[in-house]
Structure formats: C-alpha cells, structure tokens
C-alpha cells in the first residue's frame, strides 16, 4: 500500500502562521481531485476555502473542526491513491511525494518537498538550448515561498492585499503587480474591505481596465436577438419546476454564449506571448457586481457542458459566494471568455472592456419588448441586444459576426441548450 499523502494546514498568506479548521467539506472515503475545496480555514484575516493538490481518496481527518489554531504545515488529513482508502497509521513526518506536473499555486504553498527523484536513465536529455541573448529565466519559487515580483510585493503592501491570496495570471509565472491589482479588485479572500481600501480597489480596477484598453485593440459588434420562442420555452420550463429550480433568462443567454464559444475557439482563450492560446475548455467568466462597489468576473468552468439547470445552480452559487466574500482565488483567473449583463439595470446594450488576457467579452442589455419585423410583418417581440467586444489581434470582425450569429441560433433553439 502506498504511503498516503498529507493535506496540511496551508499557508494562505505571507503573514499567516496558523489557522483553524472551521469546516470540513469532505469525510473519510470521499474521492477528491486536485483543486477540490476540502475545508474552510479560519485565519486572522478571513475564512478561506482551502483546496487540495492531489487526486485520491480521503483517509483520515486528522484535525477536527475546532477554533484551535494549528501552525502552517500541521497535517490535517491523509489522502490515498486510487481506491486504496484503508486508513493507515500516519505521522507528521509523512511528506507528499514530489509531483512534477502538479505545480501548486502559491496561494497555499505546501510544506517543503524532498527533491525530485532523478530522471530515469532512459529519459532523453533535453537538447542543449541555443544560447539566446534574450532568454529570460523565470524565477522559481522555493517550496513554501511565494513567487512574486518585487513590485507585486510592494503593490500588495500598498493595497493591503495578502500576497498569499493572489494567484498568478500566467500559470507558472510569479505573481505580478497586475495580479495583485486584479486580486485587490476582486478581493476574493479578504472579508469586508476597510474603507480606505475601497478607493484602492477602484484604482486597481481602473488600472486593469486602462491597461486593457491600452493594450487590446478592441473591435465591437452588435446584434439584436429576438427571443420570443426562447422566452416562451423558458416560461414553460419554469412552470414545471420548483421556485428554487427556476432558470433566469440570463442563464439561458450565458449558456448560448458558452456553446457558441466552444464552436468558435478563436474567441475562447488567452492572448499570451504575442499569440493566441485556446482555452482548455469554455470557462465562462461572469461579471458580478460586489456589495459596496467593485466588480469581479469569476469563472464557471466548462460552462458549455453544464445543463441549463446546472448552470443556473452554479450561477447562483457564484453570486452568493461573491457577495459573501468566499471566492476561490483560482476562479478569478480561469475564465476564457467573459459575459456581462446589465439588463436588470435597464440598459439596452453594454459594450464591455475585455478582461486581459482573454480575447472576447459578450454583453447583454435588458430583454425588452420591441417592434420587430419578421415574415413580412411587424410585431412586438422580446428582444435582447447582444454585443461582442473582441481583441483584433486574435480575431477579425467576420469571425466575431459568425459568433454572434451562433449565439442567436442557439437562443432560437433553447431546448437544445
């Protein structure tokens, strides 16, 4: 039987030294996957949902729910490979094996791991790199140390952001000042912002948006989508389910966007290093206003694969957690395309600013009754104005137009969503 890996009290901030387990989301025998949230950790600053970095099955919960403060690194649970869930005697000396491909984000750096095992002799040695005058060797963080640029650390101090709560915008890259500012804007883990930080967040959003507008050559498309059939279908659906299970039009709109994004991968992904990198799925960023001001756009992962009902559930969950200040930091950076809707505020259309490094943002105005010409006649129909803000470096207007057409097409067949 393989030695279990140990889930330890994570370091969730540069100045965090200890934390208490406020809640367990898992119990022995539960299967967990890397990235799953398994516990709520109470720190001096906030209650933070902690994730695991291993796949496996929970063996024992070593730390009960308690207010007792446990030092960083204290074993909290054991995790076994595969189905081998038989609890084994554990000790604090057990360390997780090195997992080369798993690079934990610095938000919860694990305790120091032993050095990686040497490569097998048969492994081909990497080609000797041609010395380049412009090679940049990225700094690598030691285990337990947060990789952040000096300026990021300074900005974090200035903005009152816990550097440990910031997730790098570029995977494997140290935290940049932009990441800090994005985190300050989203403030995912820091409970109620002190008054003097509200302006800091405002400034951070301003910086982000300024940078986006400066760096990204936006182009904009707009189309009106007639929703008579969709709204009727939705009303019919909602009649048959409980109030809690009802689906809002927004979910339908978002689902249509997600499916269209899957079909047009050129709009779904990140602009990185001068090229477009397609997303590894459609992770739909949803712009959500925060209480007390500010805006975040956390991602619903694989939104295109959710049923409408699931999407609605996740949307509600996300909104609640944004408002409650319990957002996972990684949700802040996963999005591959973002959707924003100001329809409930009464505007007809919204032209959004793209969230770098994404390359597209879809905006929806309010669904309203408008005069609509169809089939040679004039009628009153529910209509929504959809806009696309897209990065001209990644795509051209023709593709953007096809995208909006696809959204329209999907909304005309809501039963397929």
């Amino acid at each position: 039987m393989a030695e279990p890996r140990v889930f330890r009290m994570p370091s969730l901030g540069a100045d965090m030294t200890e934390g208490a387990v406020l809640e367990w989301f898992v119990k022995p025998g539960d299967r967990v996957h890397r990235g799953d949230l398994v516990a709520v950790i109470k720190t001096d600053k906030a209650d933070i949902e902690a994730e695991v970095f291993d796949d496996g099955v929970i063996g024992e919960l070593l730390a009960p729910v308690s207010d007792e403060k446990l030092p960083i690194g204290t074993p909290l649970a054991t995790i076994y490979d595969g189905d081998d869930a038989t609890p084994a005697p554990t000790s604090a000396e057990v360390v997780p094996p090195p997992t080369a491909e798993v690079v934990p984000p610095p938000t919860s750096a694990p305790p120091p791991s032993p050095p990686s095992a040497p490569s097998p002799p048969s492994a081909p040695s990497p080609p000797h790199p041609r010395p380049s005058s412009a090679t940049i060797v990225l700094p690598t963080a030691e285990a337990g140390r947060i990789a952040a640029s000096p300026y990021a650390r300074r900005r974090a101090a200035e903005l009152g952001v816990d550097i440990g709560s910031v997730v790098p915008g570029r995977p494997g890259h140290p935290i940049s000042a932009d990441d800090v500012e994005r985190a300050a804007a989203g403030a995912p883990v820091i409970a109620p912002l002190p008054v003097d930080q509200a302006s800091a967040m405002r400034r951070a959003i301003g910086n982000l948006m300024t940078r986006s507008k400066r760096e990204i050559p936006h182009y904009y498309l707009e189309d009106d989508i007639e929703l008579a059939h969709a709204m009727a279908w939705l009303a019919h659906y909602n009649e048959r389910v409980s109030v809690e299970e009802r689906i809002l039009p927004a979910a339908m709109l978002y689902k249509a966007v997600a499916v269209a994004a899957r079909e047009m991968p050129a709009l779904n992904g990140h602009w990185s290093d001068g090229t477009f990198v397609p997303g590894d799925g459609v992770h739909l960023g949803v712009a959500i206003a925060m209480r007390g001001g500010g805006l975040v756009a956390p991602a619903i992962r694989d939104a295109d694969k959710c049923s409408l009902a699931d999407l609605m559930i996740r949307l509600r969950d996300l909104t609640a957690r944004v408002r409650g200040g319990r957002l996972r930091a990684s949700e802040m950076t996963d999005a591959t395309i973002t959707v924003t809707s100001l329809g409930d505020r009464g505007v007809r259309a919204v032209y959004g600013v793209i969230y770098a490094p994404q390359v597209a943002l879809v905006g929806f105005g309010k669904v309203s009754e408008r005069v609509w010409a169809a089939d040679g006649g004039i009628g009153i129909r529910p209509v929504v104005t959809a806009t696309l803000s897209a990065d001209h470096r990644a795509t051209d207007g023709l593709l953007g137009a096809r995208f909006l057409s696809a959204v329209t097409r999907h909304l005309h067949h809501p039963e397929d969503l």
């Binding site: 940049i136 000096p150 300026y151 650390r153 400066r214 290093d273």
Partner: protein, 325 residues
C-alpha cells in the same frame, strides 16, 4: 534646419573645435590626405594644414600616448582610432596612462584628451572590425565614455568633451555615419551628463545607446502596434552612467529591456541591470531582460552577422516577454 549626415555632423564638430581653440589638433591614421577612413575629416587638411591635421604611422600605442603627452604638455588633442578593435593596440596608453595619471600623480596630471573611434557591426567587415567594446572602456574609472546615437549628439558632444579636463572616449557607431537627420544651423555643444528620453512610454523601458538606439526605437514602434507602449532611453554617456534617468523610467514602467550590441557576459548591460536591481528592485515587476550580441566573434556572412546582432524583432520579443510573460 538642414539635413545633415552623422558623418557631416562629426566633421562640423571637428571644424568647430579646430576653429575655437588653437590648442586643438586632430591626429590619427589617414585623417589627413585620405580624409579619414570614414571620410569624417575629409577636407580638414586643406583647411587647417598638416600641423593640426596629422597623419600618423600605424602606431596606435604611440600616437594615443603622444596624445596623452601632448595633453599633458598643454595641447588639446583629438586622436582618431580607426575602429575600437584597433584601440586595443593602445589599451596600455588608454588605461595605464590616460585614465590613471591623474590619480597616480595625486591630482597633478590631468589628461585633457579626446579619443574618437568607430565601433559596432553590421557592415560585414568580420571579426576584427566589428566589435562593440565601449562597455569595456566604461569599466575604467577616470574615463568618460560617450556614444553619440544622433546627428545632434555627433555634432554636439565633441566640444564639451574637449572642455573636459580628463580623457574622453567618443564611440561613433560605424553604421550611423551615413544616417542623416535635420540639424539646426546653429547646432552646438550638448549636455553630456544626462541620458535622453528618445520616446516616452509607460509599459516597458528600453535602454539603448549608440547603434542600438534606432533598433530600440524601431522595436518601440512595432510594440506600439501591439498595444505595448515602450519608453526608449538613449544612455548617451556610458561612464558616468545616468542612473537617475534609467531608474526614474523603470519606476514608472516596472519593466526594462536593455539593448546592447556588446556581448552579454560582463557587458555594460549587465552593469545597468545590476544598477536597476540595486536602485529600483521593488519597482520591478519582471526580471530585467537583455538583448545583446551573440557571444561569437562577428562573422562575415550576412545572415550570420544579422543573427549575431540585436535586432528590432529580438527587442520586441523580449519586451513582449516582460510585458505578457
């Protein structure tokens, strides 16, 4: 205003200096009858005579040393060395005497000498005429190292260099001699103490000098079309370095790319990177990047030489990396 080549600007500066001060004279290989190997001193022999426009034997050490001695003896010599590679034949005089006499003599023997030489690659003249060793010279206390990158500086740096009581080396990038720009008819001496902001920007600082300034400017234009707003600093003087201008810029952009035609190891770019680290560490959002020449003696073949030298696409790529990872 009139359009003037870098070469003409150098010549105007020489003529101006020769007219201003009877102590000034020019000596070097082929500066007289030949008109200078880059035709900079063409016509000056006729104008000023062989006493003041002196052809020398191929004796770099002797005529550079003679420049030092003449400076000690009350003259204001301008010594021309054909290329920086040849200056190594006079390195003993430049380092052990010109840069050292003042200190070694307890402040008695200042050496008001100006040495001009061509530097840099890009002309397919191979490994003994193409290197950029000005960074080496910038290592030496007691020397002032100037790298005029513009027609204005080519015109304006010589006179203040002659006014300097200590030795000044002026490195003229050979690929610039034919470049022209508008120059005011009353153009004259320029300030030597500050680096120049050649293009303002907010996203990344490109630090360049001499021949790499136009590479950096070209890169900045390309970057602008990609939404990266690059600032370009022309160092102008490699010693003493204007730390303040560099640091002031990096404090705003948080990113720096140094473009240096010299080899990377132990280069002036390394010095600048170190100073940015020393003076602006907590303003850095990315490691300082460098675009330098490949670490090979300069090859003859066009495509190899092109590959060896820092190019605008190299700078663009480096800037993209520090801006977008």
């Amino acid at each position: 205003m009139s359009s003037v080549t870098y070469r003409e600007a150098c010549r105007q500066a020489l003529r101006d200096a020769l007219q201003r001060d009877p102590r000034v004279f020019l000596m070097g290989e082929d500066v007289g009858r030949y008109g200078g190997c880059f035709a900079v001193s063409m016509g000056l022999l006729d104008e000023f005579g062989p006493e003041r426009i002196r052809d020398t034997p191929l004796s770099e050490s002797a005529f550079v040393g003679a420049g030092i001695g003449a400076a000690l003896g009350g003259m204001r010599p301008i010594v021309e060395i054909m290329t920086v590679n040849f200056s190594l034949l006079a390195l003993d005089q430049i380092l052990n005497n010109a840069a050292t006499l003042l200190h070694m003599s307890g402040g008695q023997c200042n050496v008001p000498l100006v040495i001009r030489m061509a530097t840099g690659g890009g002309r397919q003249v191979g490994a003994q005429h193409s290197h950029s060793l000005e960074g080496w010279y910038a290592h030496i206390p007691g020397l002032r190292i100037l790298t005029p990158a513009t027609v204005e500086d080519a015109r304006g740096m010589l006179w203040p260099a002659l006014e300097d009581p200590d030795p000044v080396l002026i490195f003229e990038h050979a690929s610039l001699y034919g470049a022209s720009a508008e120059l005011s008819d009353d153009a004259g001496p320029v300030d030597l103490t500050r680096a120049a902001l050649r293009r303002p920007g907010s996203d990344v600082t490109l630090v360049a000098y001499g021949g790499t300034v136009r590479v950096a400017l070209e890169a900045a234009e390309a970057l602008a079309s990609q939404g990266i707003d690059a600032e370009v600093i022309d160092l102008r003087t490699l010693r003493p370095l204007d730390d303040e201008t560099i640091v002031h810029s990096v404090r705003r952009t948080h990113r720096a790319v140094i473009v240096d035609e010299a080899w990377r190891s132990g280069s002036i770019s390394a010095e600048i990177a170190a100073r940015i680290m020393e003076l602006a560490f907590f303003d850095l959002d990315e490691p300082v990047a460098r675009v330098c020449s490949a670490e090979v003696p300069m090859p003859y073949a066009r495509q190899l030489e092109d590959a060896a030298l820092p190019s605008a696409p190299d700078v663009v790529a480096a800037a993209q990396r520090v801006c977008h990872g």
